[in-house]
């Protein structure tokens, strides 16, 4: 049983760390910001997620203490990761002003739509 | 147990938030509170004076934790004297401020009380990290006061003042760290006990730390080459604030007196009289450069600033001799130079307000209201500041010359003190005759709308009266100061008072 627990913990750690590394590698490898944005938002979330679950299992199973507060960090990360990406994308859109964007039906994307300025 | 010792810290610390909350929108109320608090501070300081005048050293263990583990406040003759000086100066300056300049920006009175809290705390604390905290309190309050009212020149000078002091604070922490790392204590008395026993191999760290700390105090005391902040700051600060700042330089001097006699004085083993060889040349150079600046100044405020630098050089020269008699002389001069320095800034401000377009520039301008009154005040202040008879500056100088006679450097010290006095006389003479004697003849445009500035004049009068008082009561005062100096040199008394009932656990962790 203990071995299984250890195995699970070790596996989670390894998987998490691997994802962290892959995410960072993507950050270096991918050619432009929008592509790079895909890497860390996913890979690192799962990376940290793996480590967090590993921590929970570790403390619960091997240390005998119930450690569930890691969930909270996960919650935060899952809540914020898309927002971060969203904002980075908007910032990039604003600073690069790309020309190849699809246009929405009525109004422009809010980053550019001066009409949404309410004064 | 007397709780009065902490009152000079707690009272303004309570008064400031009350001003912040209760009297924020009512200037009259704020002024009343501010004055009441400052008067009370003076009363408390005087009460403490009577308590320590017999040589008692009062201590106060905060949180009931014994020194050196807890923070301790120490009231001895020196610290209490500084409290009295602070209160007197603060009260006089407050009169000047409530003449209208407190309206120029927000929160003047709250910042003022916090400023007093910081200064008083610095004088009382017996713990050098707590000293850092109070330094920061008084500094940050001074930042707020310095830029009170704003304006491009003031803001620019303010930035410089803050940056220099932030670098100073950085240095303070590094120095504290170095000392703590080998002495393992933050209590000044405990440090004094431990310094003689610091291993030879640790001396370099200890002494480098101690001397860097000295440098920090010298920044406050505006000693060369770390004095650069002062002229710009004082010349651009609101007058009331510049006047109050006269005590800030003394905080630096106070710390030098306190720490480098107690912990690095006669019984400090390899670190005996650590500060002296560094301090004396710097002080003498400061004296020369300060008075040179007096001669070179183009504005009255600038002149006053350089006069303060010069006076700090003189003060620290006497301190750097590290003898009781020289210290006593230095303390007298400290009292004097604080009042004399402050009043110059107030006069400069009233003059500047009356010379639109010229301000306090040493240039020929139309005459103005109350010219004679201000000329008279300036004349007296200049006498005090240059150390001409019969005012306290002269007596202070005599005391210091007399005390320096035993030094091996007497010839140099005398030559520089007297030589710079002459430079100061010339400088002040030039300034006074230009400002008050020369005028373009036509009456200024200002007189019709001139305010009488009665409260400001009262403030100036109070400070000048202080100088006169120092002169008249020089006899009893020097008796007190001699006793004070002796008490400072009798470091055993201080250590006994602070650590007397503490059994120190031996060894390191």
């Amino acid at each position: 049983m203990e071995f299984i627990n250890e195995l699970v913990v070790a596996a989670l750690i390894v998987v998490g760390a691997s994802f962290a590394l892959v995410g960072s590698w993507g950050l270096v490898k991918l050619p432009d910001l929008m592509s790079r944005l895909h890497a860390p938002t996913k890979a690192t979330t799962l990376g940290v997620g793996g480590a967090l679950v590993a921590s929970m299992v570790y403390f619960l199973a091997l240390n005998g203490t119930l450690s569930i507060h890691e969930l909270l960090i996960s919650l935060f990360l899952f809540l914020t990761a898309p927002l971060t990406a969203h904002f980075l994308a908007k910032a990039w859109l604003h600073s690069q002003q790309p020309k190849d964007l699809p246009q929405p039906e009525n109004r422009n994307w809010s980053t550019f739509d001066a009409g949404s300025e309410r004064h | 147990m007397t709780h009065w010792i902490i009152a000079p810290v707690v009272l303004p610390a309570i008064m400031a938030p009350i001003l912040l909350m209760g009297a924020r929108h009512d200037m009259v109320l704020a002024r009343i509170f501010s004055i009441a608090s400052t008067v009370a501070l003076l009363g408390i300081a005087l009460a403490l004076t009577t308590m320590v005048s017999d040589g008692t050293i009062l201590t106060y263990a905060l949180g009931n934790w014994v020194a050196p583990f807890g923070i301790v406040l120490v009231a001895d003759r020196l610290s209490v004297m500084m409290l009295v000086l602070t209160a007197v100066l603060a009260l006089a300056v407050l009169f000047f401020a409530i003449d209208g300049s407190d309206r120029d920006g927000r929160h003047f009175h709250a910042l003022y009380q916090f400023q007093l809290m910081g200064i008083n705390g610095a004088f009382l604390t017996g713990d050098f990290f707590n000293l850092f905290v109070f330094f920061e309190v008084l500094l940050i309050a001074s930042y707020g006061l310095m830029v009170h009212g704003g304006g491009p020149a003031r803001m620019k000078a303010g930035v410089q003042y803050v940056v220099i002091n932030l670098v100073g604070s950085t240095l303070f922490l590094i120095a504290v760290g170095m000392i703590y790392s080998v002495a393992g204590t933050l209590n000044m008395a405990d440090l004094a006990v431990k310094v003689p026993h610091i291993a030879a191999g640790d001396q370099a760290l200890l002494q480098a730390g101690a001397l860097l700390l000295l440098l920090v105090f010298c920044i406050k005391a505006a000693l060369i080459p770390v004095h650069f902040w002062l002229p710009g700051t004082y010349a651009n600060a609101p007058a009331a604030v510049a006047a109050l700042f006269a005590i800030m330089t003394k905080v630096g001097a106070y710390c030098v007196i306190r720490l480098y006699i107690l912990a690095f004085g006669a019984d400090a083993g390899a670190a005996t009289w650590l500060a002296a060889p560094w301090l004396l040349p710097a002080a003498l150079l400061t004296l020369v450069l300060g008075m040179t600046g007096v001669l070179a100044a183009r504005r009255l405020g600038q002149l006053a600033g350089f006069a303060v630098i010069g006076s700090m050089g003189l003060l620290l020269t006497s301190i750097a001799l590290f003898t009781p008699i020289a210290l006593s002389a230095a303390l007298y001069y400290l009292l004097h130079s604080t009042l004399a320095g402050a009043v110059l800034f107030l006069i400069a401000d009233l003059v500047a307000r009356r010379r639109p377009g010229h301000e306090d520039g040493l240039s020929v301008a139309p005459g103005f209201t109350q010219l004679k009154l201000l000329a008279g005040a300036f004349f007296i202040a200049a006498i005090a500041a240059t150390g001409m008879p019969p005012l306290s500056g002269f007596i202070g100088k005599l005391l210091m010359l007399d005390a320096a006679l035993d030094s091996v450097h007497a010839a140099v010290i005398w030559t520089l003190i007297l030589g710079t006095s002459l430079i100061a006389i010339i400088g002040f003479g030039r300034a006074g005759s230009t400002l008050f004697w020369k005028s373009t003849g036509e009456p200024g445009s200002f007189p019709e709308h001139a305010e009488k500035n009665s409260l400001s004049l009262i403030a100036i009068g109070l400070l000048l009266a202080g100088c006169v008082g120092l002169t008249l009561f020089a006899g009893p005062l020097t008796t007190y100061l001699d006793a004070t100096a002796e008490q400072i040199f009798a470091t055993d008394q201080y250590i006994e008072a602070v650590l007397g009932n503490t059994v120190l656990p031996g060894g390191s962790l």
């Binding site: - | 930042y143 930035v159 922490l173 703590y180 183009r298 020929v364």
Partner: protein, 122 residues
């Protein structure tokens, strides 16, 4: 480990000093921030470097690191934060007032026509 920490402190100090000596308020503020990191770590190091022995009393713990420097550093961090905030805003206000964020300025000279005439020099 000690070398890593010392060299890091040294580097932070050096970088801080270099930036503090620049001619605009912004790098000066950055330099001050670096210096405050350096001093905080320095002060922290007076308690010596200890791994995994946080100063929280517990029955399992065998030893603790020196808590005092940590308390001091905490105070120092807060104070340097306050100071940084003030200097940033002051730099801002100064820039708004004068339109320049130079710190390498000259004194404003007294206008020539107001200067002392030759006789005034005596």
């Amino acid at each position: 480990m000690e070398f890593l920490l010392s060299s890091a402190v040294g580097l932070l100090t050096a970088a801080g000093v270099y930036l503090v000596l620049r001619a605009r308020t912004w790098p000066v503020v950055l330099g001050l921030a670096l210096l405050s990191y350096a001093t905080n770590v320095f002060l922290f190091a007076t308690g010596r470097l200890v791994l995994n022995r946080p100063p929280v009393i517990s029955p399992e713990a065998l030893a603790y690191t020196d808590p005092l420097p940590q308390a001091l550093v905490l105070t120092a961090i807060v104070i340097s934060f306050a100071m940084t905030a003030v200097i940033v805003v002051m730099a801002l206000r100064s820039f708004l007032e004068s339109g320049s964020d130079h710190v390498d300025g000259e004194d404003q000279p007294v206008p020539a026509e107001n200067r002392e005439s030759t006789e005034g020099r005596a």
